[in-house]
């Protein structure tokens, strides 16, 4: 049996066909009904995804495909994680309308934060903590900059947390605040934190870039570092964190150049999470 649903997640709509209802049931815990729709869309769909078992295969594995483009096979227990990664793959590989930085984005009182960082730096954990302390989430993975306006477009999705971050969040807030925990993925254990109601409500509202913070959790630093970054350095560090900077070529260069002139760049290295959160809260 095939389940079909639409994920109306601005700025992209996904149409998904999947075998059985396991994936849909899990996604219901993470996405609101206004976004996860089980009726055919009257809007234009950006990405049509098949995430089904191959009828000819004995393995019972699911294959994530965008048309003929294959992403990955997975067994049933890792269905949700591979689905979320698959959406990331589709957007980072097949759209070049927006400059796409691998970064989390949040906003509070008109002040926006871009948090680019390589895996393992604690970006998602910090992003989750900020969202739970009142910042609205625009994205945990994709900072989409419109080259025409210079604004950041929200691409609201659940925050993906790995391994010990799950325990940190559960300990700090409520037990089971992190949902749909998937063990034994190739990245370890993955859990998902649903965006706050405000994040969903404002999912169509772009923001002006204000701060770019490069976070790094380091249990061994004695004092929190919260220092400025020069524009030239900021440009290069953002460029290496982009998914499509080289593809956008001149457009990418101009967009990033404009962004760098608009924002304040900050390096944040911390062991004390509360102190880091406090320093960010004091930004204006």
């Amino acid at each position: 049996m095939t389940t079909s649903f639409v994920l109306a997640s601005a700025p992209f709509n996904f149409q998904v066909n999947t075998s059985g209802s396991v994936l849909y049931d899990q996604l219901q815990q993470l996405y609101p009904a206004s976004v996860l729709q089980n009726s055919p869309s009257t809007d234009i769909i950006d990405f049509q995804i098949d995430f089904k078992k191959n009828w000819w295969s004995f393995s019972q594995s699911y294959a994530f495909k965008l048309g003929q483009h294959h992403f990955r096979m997975t067994a049933k227990p890792q269905l949700l994680s591979v689905f979320e990664w698959g959406l990331n793959w589709a957007v980072s590989s097949y759209q070049n309308r927006y400059l796409c930085i691998h970064a989390a984005v949040l906003e509070k009182n008109g002040i926006s934060l871009i948090l680019p960082a390589p895996p393992g730096s604690g970006k998602s954990t910090l992003c989750a903590l900020l969202m739970l302390s009142g910042w609205r989430l625009l994205s945990d993975e994709h900072c989409l900059i419109d080259p025409q306006t210079g604004m950041i477009l929200p691409f609201v999705r659940p925050i993906s947390l790995k391994n010990r971050s799950i325990a940190v969040l559960n300990q700090r807030y409520a037990k089971n605040i992190v949902q749909c925990v998937v063990p034994d993925t190739f990245k370890g254990t993955i859990g998902y934190l649903p965006p706050t109601a405000e994040s969903w409500q404002l999912m169509h509202q772009p923001v002006q870039p204000a701060y770019v913070i490069f976070p790094k959790y380091n249990a061994h630093v004695a004092a929190t570092e919260f220092s400025g970054i020069e524009q030239s350095q900021l440009f290069m560090q953002l460029a290496v964190n982009c998914f499509n900077y080289t593809v956008l070529a001149e457009v990418g260069f101009e967009t990033l150049g404009r962004l760098v002139k608009q924002v304040v760049g900050i390096r944040l290295e911390y062991a004390n999470t509360d102190e880091a959160l406090q320093l960010i809260a004091e930004l204006d």
Binding site: D46, N96, D184, G188, A219, V247, V251
Partner: protein, 370 residues
């Protein structure tokens, strides 16, 4: 039923007038599959219709345009790097297909994407050209012994050569059609009539020969996944070639001994894009073509275009068998089918064992605080 992507290419104004959300969705999907997003972008820009399409569709057509622009820059950089290695080559080095369209600055090259650089050299100089490409850093990567033998014995090109750092792929050809074929397509005129690119060691075919090559490529091929793109290429190349005279096309077809392919191409272009072919040209080409072949081409394309047809799946299989038969002849195809099946079975076993070994080594575990 014509694929929506082809409908847009046939008549963009009419398409926009009737399109609803579902049709636009299908268009985005098909244009992405066929690698036609950038081509659709330029088609609509040229027709002054780009601003009449929904923003969501623009997002993807523009993405295709951006990607094609990037490829254009990469291609020019790559060709500049290749130049010194071929500067003293005492034989024609002819660029084919996408690379030639782009460097000839054909309008149809705008927005068009391609996967590799195709170079044609005379068969006698094939080892020398290979040596030069090796020196430029292009080498063979991971191919089974059988596949390698297949390329060298039956095909018209060397196994793909990939740059060891940049990942760019080059197909080095000594012909435009498999040597195992029973068709007798001639290659010498393609080399002799090529036009040197100003200030370059490379040359490109005449527009008429580019069109004839596309006819050969389309009508003797076995793949269906880029059929709309191939047909659009064919039509666009026809428009470029016909501007220099229909007689040139017939002459090029005669030179390459590819009259049948051009006849079938004219027939399909008349059907899909309403081109007008003169009675004289048809009279000159028709004796080389086969009426049942022409009818089966149309029937196959009609079924391939219509996923709802009960013949759709069969048409795919028949198209593949037909293409292989034309390329190899029945006995070679039989040998190839058996040998390839055995090869694939062996490879799958080895691959599965390797995968299991790798999985065991990379068993997921808690990676610490991240």
């Amino acid at each position: 039923m014509t694929p929506v992507c082809l409908q847009l290419l046939q008549n963009p104004a009419k398409f926009i007038e009737h399109a609803n959300a579902q049709i636009w969705t299908d268009l985005i999907h098909q244009a992405r599959e066929q690698a036609l997003l950038g081509s659709c972008y330029f088609l609509l820009q040229d027709a002054g219709l780009y601003d009449a399409i929904p923003e969501k569709v623009k997002t993807h057509l523009y993405s295709g345009y951006i990607y094609a622009q990037k490829q254009k820059i990469s291609l020019i950089k790559e060709m500049l790097k290749l130049e010194p290695f071929f500067s003293d080559a005492p034989y024609p080095c002819v660029l084919l297909k996408g690379c030639a369209y782009r460097l000839t600055e054909l309008a149809m090259a705008r927005g068009r994407v391609f996967s590799d650089i195709d170079i044609l050299v005379p068969q006698q100089q094939f080892p020398d050209a290979l040596q030069r490409l090796n020196e430029a850093g292009f080498i063979e990567f991971g191919m089974s012994d059988y596949d390698r033998r297949y390329y060298l014995r039956w095909s018209h090109q060397h196994p793909p050569l990939i740059h060891y750092l940049r990942g760019v792929s080059i197909d080095l050809h000594h012909h435009i059609y498999p040597v195992s074929s029973q068709e007798n397509i001639l290659i010498e005129p393609m080399l002799r009539q090529s036009i040197p690119l100003a200030g370059s060691s490379f040359a490109v075919p005449t527009k008429a020969l580019m069109f004839v090559h596309a006819c050969v490529h389309l009508f003797y091929q076995d793949e269906t996944h880029k059929l709309v793109k191939d047909l659009w290429d064919l039509y666009q190349l026809y428009l470029d070639a016909i501007a220099e005279g229909e007689a040139n096309i017939v002459q090029a077809a005669t030179d390459l001994n590819a009259q049948a392919a051009v006849y079938y191409a004219f027939d399909v272009l008349e059907w899909l894009f309403q081109i007008n072919v003169s009675a004289l040209a048809l009279t000159q080409l028709k004796p080389f073509a086969n009426h049942s072949q022409r009818r089966s081409m149309r029937w196959l394309l009609t079924q391939l275009f219509n996923p709802q047809s009960s013949w759709h799946r069969l048409a795919h299989i028949w198209w593949a068998i037909r293409g292989h038969l034309l390329k190899m002849g029945p006995m070679t195809l039989l040998y190839h089918s058996v040998a390839k099946s055995v090869e694939q079975y062996r490879e799958r076993r080895i691959h599965t064992a390797q995968q299991q070994q790798q999985d065991a080594l990379t068993k997921p575990k808690d990676a610490g605080f991240q």
